[in-house]
Assembly symmetry: C2
Homo-oligomer: 350 residues x 2
């Protein structure tokens, strides 16, 4: 690019940021305007955090087993985009849930902008990861091959599970039974086939605790600087565990429908210094499992606030925002919710 | 963004494209200038191509098995970015090789720009996929769980293999033995740990032939329009198979060190109308396996040219470009090679 043009582009970006990128946008019309027009990125890329080397005698099966060799597992794949002037705000780290990958946060099943891009357009450096042993973060096939070749007993086979369409429909609160929807549901069920395609086998049930993704989150924050960790569902407890292990650079935690909050009766001191938002969608009362989890989070947030912590519980229908499923980052009003999170992040820094 | 500013941005983008984005760049200095400065994207996102529903009674194991349910497999995850004025050029589709995912084409192990971004900066809409059953494209865990629960015999376990560091070092021609490098090697071996973290279990050996990625490639081209398919290694034969199945919108094939070229004695008619480039790096003579494959590709390209086809074989050291490994999209001169491909694509359209 010609130097004069480049300077002009940079000036223009700054003007754009000052005029539209950083000012809080509260109306739906303003939200919409932020999602249009070209996207300017100063840097993007991908890398891995964590990982350990493992010697294996069973990297293949039968004749393809080959000699013993080393592989690397437990690493976490991270992709990021940085917009102009992102250094004025914390990084956003998006951590997907069960049986899914970082794809959850990208283009919605019905083709709308994902949160991965929305936060970039709102001026945040945004990092999307695949949990350890999932998606682009390697699993270890050794035990499967060793069983296949008779070197290990069947009991050594790893836990590897997938969510069914039928099961996920109910668990994600699209409706009370597969094929039925709750009244006013915001999830684009007509495009559910694109959600089903996002699902991949999940090894998490057989991994050590904490999940290897947890230390990777702490390491990631060390590498990239102050970060707000946004979890979903299965990964809900991970940022809390990372915070207890190493609070440096964890600027905030947003738990979207966490599968569990920390125990309200545990030592709360490690959580007190960090802004924490726990968010739930609609139809919780129609789902006993979720109602139980929400109660646990109410107890935790209540105890933490009573202890002087900076925690907040937001149940969307209680604020007038209705119809949200468990997959609220893909619901029709997904960007409205992301906008609420941007406002919360900016206010939490004050 | 203010409408006046938005219009100005768009004008500026067009100027940038006309001044620097589309004109062929042949010198290394020009290549470097293309990789600096902000990146402007008009659209980005991700989606899945293909996929079939499969009923399973073994989505978990033991108590976690749950009721029978449906999952979707064989779909292919695709992520894309579109720069301004991309409609003037064909799309680029990047298809990774064995034991890897689309990450191969992103940021290099030592942190330089990947081809995924380079082609966007050269004005191409660029699509990166994860092969079926790999990375963000789901595998089916049913057989593993069914064996674990005693419902299927051990022989039913799927083929799932990983490449070892030691094996890949030699196969990727970093050197004659693990830890030794060929003289003048361009691969950043000091950052090899980041390459090892890219490797994931590979089910391809047990999948039907053609690999489900092949029909997905044909479908992808139908969806996105004229496309140059760039394969690597294991995926080398896929674009040729897609071309034979359905040539519509396959504007060209670039096979980077394919594991196999089509048989030179087969019917060559289906390949005659499409520009085809087969590219190999250095040290082939030191690697009997690769020498054999290169000979097969020489035979194929020679036969196709003799039959009136538009094929070309490029062995980099024969043109004076030396030191390239099998992972040449990650070698120090990776963008120089990508630049050659851009020149080839633009010339092939004439």
């Amino acid at each position: 690019m010609h130097p004069v043009l480049r300077a002009l582009v940079i000036d223009l970006e700054l003007s754009i940021v000052l005029l539209g990128g950083v000012a809080p946008a509260t109306s739906l019309a303003e939200q919409a305007s932020l999602t249009e027009g070209p996207l300017v990125i100063t840097k993007q890329g991908s890398f891995f955090i964590g990982g350990r080397e493992q010697l294996s005698t069973s990297l293949g099966r039968g004749k393809s087993a080959g000699p013993p060799g080393t592989i690397t597992v437990d690493q976490v794949y991270v992709r990021y985009q940085t917009p102009p002037r992102a250094e004025m705000q914390p990084n956003i780290v998006l951590i997907h849930g069960c049986c899914l990958t970082g794809k959850s946060w990208e283009t919605t099943p019905d083709g709308r902008m994902g949160w991965d891009e929305y936060f970039v357009r709102r001026g945040f450096s945004t990092y999307v990861l695949d949990q350890a042993w999932r998606g682009r973060s390697a699993a270890d096939p050794s035990a499967i091959n060793a069983v296949a070749d008779g070197h290990l007993p069947i009991e050594s086979l790893p836990t590897e599970s997938s969510a069914s369409h039928e099961g996920a429909w109910v668990l994600f609160r699209f409706g009370p039974r597969y094929g039925e929807t709750f009244p006013g549901l915001q999830f684009p069920v007509n495009a559910a086939d694109q959600l089903w395609k996002q699902m991949v086998p999940d090894y998490a049930g057989g991994l050590p605790k904490p999940n290897p993704t947890v230390p990777a989150l702490a390491q990631l924050a060390q590498r990239i600087g102050p970060s707000v960790l946004i979890s979903h569902s299965q990964s809900g407890i991970y940022p809390f565990q990372a915070l207890v292990a190493d609070p440096r650079n964890i600027a905030g935690i947003i738990a979207i429908e966490p599968a569990a909050c920390p125990d309200s009766k545990a030592e709360l001191m490690p959580y007190k210094g960090t802004p924490i938002l726990v968010l739930f969608g609609d139809y919780i009362a129609d789902s006993p499992g979720w109602a139980h989890i929400l109660q646990g989070c109410r107890d935790y947030v209540g105890a933490l606030k009573a202890a002087g912590g900076r925690a907040e519980l937001l149940v969307l229908p209680e604020t007038g925002i209705k119809g949200n499923s468990h997959m609220l980052m893909q619901d029709f009003n997904s960007l409205q919710i992301a906008g609420l999170l941007v406002d919360w992040i900016r206010n939490s820094g004050r």
